[in-house]
């Protein structure tokens, strides 16, 4: 076997192994570190700057946990009034990985190396091209950027930030404290 052939075959094997690993991770709902690194850069632009980098990284970590703990095929709440039996759809984690790879390549250089305005422009273009119109109530798998934004902006933490007050939406609260105007943050 010629040296060039050997190297080509070894590279092919490496690519297949690598792709297989990505697929297995995606099936298990695990976002690989490379995707998470890009997502952290996305979060720094897509989430409020008041959070600071440390907090936006934490939001990404919680989002990754959410993806990891997602289960397909589980019975969903069957509504009231016009009930229907439904199960959760598979979460297209592979799409997330591909979307993040596309974002990383979209600017001609790594996303992280771009300025804030350029990064924002890429995200806007990405969402326009993907025709994402609305913020879902919770991540749906439509697009990783809108899902991350929905994940944060529908949280109790974001609600407090919006109103600049300690509301504690959906958290365990004292009834008497609920009777008072929420304290400022």
């Amino acid at each position: 076997m010629q040296r060039r052939t050997f190297i080509t075959r070894m590279l092919s094997v490496a690519v297949v192994v690598s792709l297989g690993r990505v697929r297995r991770r995606a099936e298990a709902g695990v976002l690989p570190e490379k995707s998470l690194a890009t997502l952290r850069e996305v979060a720094a632009v897509a989430l409020p700057s008041a959070l600071g980098r440390r907090s936006t990284d934490q939001v990404v970590a919680r989002f990754a946990d959410w993806v990891r703990d997602y289960k397909a095929g589980v019975s969903m709440e069957h509504d009231y009034g016009r009930p229907r039996l439904r199960t959760t759809e598979p979460l297209p984690v592979e799409n997330y990985i591909r979307q993040l790879a596309d974002i990383d390549q979209a600017g001609g250089q790594r996303f992280a190396r771009l300025g804030r305005d350029a990064r924002r422009a890429i995200l806007e273009k990405t969402l326009n091209e993907a025709k994402v119109e609305n913020l879902p109530n919770r991540p749906t798998g439509e697009h990783v950027v809108s899902d991350l934004v929905a994940f944060y902006f529908h949280s109790s933490e974001a609600n407090d930030l919006c109103y600049r007050a300690n509301i504690g939406m959906l958290k365990c609260r004292n009834l008497a404290s609920l009777a008072k105007r929420p304290e400022p943050l």
């Binding site: 989430l47 709440e77 016009r82 995200l123 609260r173 009834l175």
Partner: protein
């Protein structure tokens, strides 16, 4: 065939059943009571906080296994079939009907009078409120007088709700905090309310009453036996007399084996769908149209109430996310003047975030991200949003029916129920005017604080459905007497929602429980006599 002997066999395990067996075990200690339920007993309270979180995060059913895939009815409003029934996921609203509901024919020439007096029902209401540990405040309307105070004070109003009360009362209507079966302090093995705001579908502390607590307590005290996962498929007549001899069914884990329950007295407590369904399924040569159905009225006069909902925007600063489950009620329009236009409805007010949620695109379709998104949200969060709703009174025609649907069957070949609501002529004739009255009222409410109605909609289903085995004094015009005893079979009672001749115009659960508790008095008497 496995056969179980018991004094009382209760079929169904919702809130009416829970209250009935609790009271019966007190009135007749030593009576053997067997509760048979097709669904599962979901007695894993310790998992509720986890289920709640999964529901919030992923939309998963917080009551896993609370339905039976091939035991579904066409036209029902909830698929839950488990020990506790729909009261596993109710909001715990405990409104009383008004005196007028019982005298529709006498006062207005409409529908039918109920076969009991307001004083009798009011006494049963007090008992229901005590057993459910209802928190509430007296209505500001003197017609809503009560003979006993609520067992708990009212739920403290959230800041938002206090603001909304000020706003809403500018219309001239008077509001009070909705009475609810929710513990303000820990009691009866259930925790205190922590304002989690997920009463529907699941309360992680158990503060919001659900019947599973009652059943667990009674089982631990050995006062009842609970047979879950057991579907009763038919009632069997005594060979000689028109009484019920047995209930036959199957345990879902042993689908090929019939099980039989023999009892002195049978109580159907399966709610508006499954109680009339079982009677129709139990047709036999002596009762070819179904048991208890000499009148031909089993499965007829299916009732409930329609509703108009609206969202409004007001110039009053609210804090979104405080508590969208707490609400106010005005009972002003629960009664109307005889001789005037017939308009009866309740009026409810909640905080809302409609029109003030975070969004991905602005009105020019420009993508919003990061600080832009937050700023847009903050701008739109200035002011407040309100949810309004009125349940209004509609009266069923005899063709408002539950029938057996031959095209949908369970695994045993039993036809499933199909419910189609129809209204009487008077209801149809006034419907547009009633809806217009409610729309005008909402507009009047919204006028304060520069409010604007954002959207209005009319329900496409009846809430708090009931009927199907209506009570009455005349056997030819009703299925049961005022205690739920069927006219045709002296040892067969139907309790709770199916007894209601009409659906009222406010939440029905407390009324269904009150009727079931009143039935229990008669059942206990019967057990004493026999």
């Amino acid at each position: 065939m496995p056969t179980f002997e018991t004094d009382v066999c209760v079929i169904g395990s919702g809130i009416s059943a829970a209250m009935l067996v609790e009271k019966l075990s007190e009135l007749r200690p030593g009576t053997t009571i067997t509760v048979v339920e097709a669904g599962n007993a979901i007695f894993d309270f310790s998992n509720r906080i986890k289920y709640r979180q999964r529901n919030l995060d992923y939309g998963e059913n917080p009551w896993p296994g609370d339905f039976i895939e091939d035991q579904l009815a066409d036209g029902i409003i909830c698929h839950t079939m488990a020990v506790g029934g729909q009261a596993l996921l109710w909001g715990s609203a405990c409104n009383r009907f008004s005196e007028e509901d019982l005298r529709l024919k006498s006062l207005y020439g409409l529908a039918v009078d109920w076969p009991l007096s307001w004083e009798e029902l009011e006494k049963a209401y007090c008992e229901a409120e005590r057993r459910l540990n209802v928190s509430g405040e007296p209505s500001p309307y003197p017609e809503d007088r009560r003979s006993a105070p609520y067992p708990q004070p009212p739920t403290p109003m959230s800041y938002n709700l206090r603001e909304l009360k000020v706003w809403a009362e500018k219309s001239g209507l008077l509001f009070s905090v909705l009475p609810v079966a929710t513990n303000l302090t820990a009691s009866a093995g259930r925790g205190a309310c922590c304002a989690f705001s997920t009463c529907v579908p699941v309360c992680p502390t158990g503060a919001r009453y659900s019947p599973d607590f009652t059943f667990r307590k009674l089982i631990a005290q050995k006062k009842i036996a609970l047979h879950d996962r057991t579907l009763i498929r038919r009632l069997v007549l005594d060979a000689a007399r028109p009484t019920i001899a047995a209930a036959q069914g199957v345990h879902r884990d042993r689908p090929d084996e019939t099980v039989e329950y023999r009892a002195r007295l049978f109580v159907l407590a399966g709610g508006y769908a499954w109680s009339p369904h079982l009677l129709l399924l139990s047709a036999c040569s002596r009762f070819p149209n179904g048991l208890a159905n000499s009148s031909g009225l089993v499965g007829r006069y299916m009732t409930g109430h329609k509703f108009v909902s609206a969202f409004a925007s007001i110039d009053r600063q609210l804090y979104g996310g405080q508590s969208d489950v707490q609400s106010l009620i005005s009972r002003k329009y629960l009664r109307c003047r005889a001789g005037g236009p017939y308009v009866r409805h309740d009026t409810r007010v909640w905080e809302s975030t409609v029109g003030r949620e975070p969004r991905l695109r602005d009105e020019h379709k420009r993508v919003l991200l990061g600080d832009d998104l937050l700023e847009d949200w903050r701008t739109r969060a200035k002011g407040g949003s309100v949810r309004l709703r009125s349940y209004y009174d509609v009266h069923p025609s005899p063709d408002s029916r539950l029938t057996l649907n031959p095209s949908t069957r369970n695994r045993w070949g039993d036809p499933m129920p199909k419910i189609e609501h129809r209204f009487d002529d008077a209801t149809m004739a006034r419907e547009a005017a009633v809806q217009e009255h409610i729309r005008k009222l909402f507009a009047e409410l919204a006028r304060a604080d520069n409010g604007q109605i954002l959207t209005t909609s009319v329900s496409n289903y009846l809430d708090h459905p009931a009927g199907g085995c209506r009570m009455g004094n005349e056997p030819a015009a009703s299925v049961c007497d005022s205690y739920g005893r069927t006219h045709d079979h002296e040892n067969l009672f139907v309790v709770g929602a199916p007894n209601s001749p009409t659906g009222g115009c406010t939440n029905g659960a407390l009324t269904f429980v009150a009727l079931a508790l009143r039935s229990t008095d008669r059942i206990a008497q019967d057990l004493g006599w026999t």
